[in-house]
Symmetry: C2
Subunit: 145 residues, 2 copies
Amino acid sequence: MPSKPPRPDLAALLTPLLRALVAAELPVLAAHDLTMWGYVVLSALDRSSMRTQAALAEAIGADKTRIIRTLDDLQERGFIERHPDPDDRRVRLLAITAAGRAVKDAAQAEIQRGEEHRLAALSAEERRVFLRVLMQLTHGETGGG
Amino acid sequence: MPSKPPRPDLAALLTPLLRALVAAELPVLAAHDLTMWGYVVLSALDRSSMRTQAALAEAIGADKTRIIRTLDDLQERGFIERHPDPDDRRVRLLAITAAGRAVKDAAQAEIQRGEEHRLAALSAEERRVFLRVLMQLTHGETGGG
DNA sequence: TATTGTTATACTCTATAACTATA
DNA sequence: TATAGTTATAGAGTATAACAATA
């Protein structure tokens, strides 16, 4: 007879946790008038400016056609700048603005406060190992802002 | 000026990892002629039989209307049994069959072999803490097979 | 001709509502 | 009348394909 696996599948463990984390994020983002994609874009551009929209899309694991409305909206509200590159007028240079960084930082602070509530159940050692391993396993995977 | 957060958001860490895990699972499931929902249903019924389809749907975080086609398919292939309850002929008693367990175990073994490849980068201590914390954080969240 | 960004279209997935049968 | 399951419809989200501008 086949032996029972000693642990659940990783995806089966991660799915409900991620679902709960996203559900907790959405009201916070809504309070800051941000969509999840808007927040992901701001977070990515806060890490680094981008030379093309396609590069940004790939960096966050999205389709290039999918983020256009998001970029339009963020630009209209002054959260990002989108300038044609003088050297190649096909491409759009993307950067976050001070206002964009402010709204992103405010939302993120509130999100992480909620996360800290969950992590409070862990010991300092558990927390340290968990976050380190998570970053290690995630590192190298594509996309995901 | 606002201070930078000392860590990424948890959802931002989990998303690319889960995406990669699912992407790795799909070809394995396809090779066993299973959809992700089919696999999730078999895994749930392997843990415990269910008295109603609604209960199963809630257990895996799905809509009750969403799993009907999946149940039809699994039943046709002899992977689950679905009997009207004699005490209340509205409800369907759900249970996995030996054949269903076999295909689920085979797919799961292959999936976890792939996962072990990822986890191989961890020390025994890291692995132990990571999995324990993951189960602890996931525990209490609803759904997710 | 190849590439960036954009728009238009089609498709998949999911949720909502309406229906049948039991109770 | 209320509930389990089912079916039908509609909506959201996403991907595919076609297009305009630039190189």
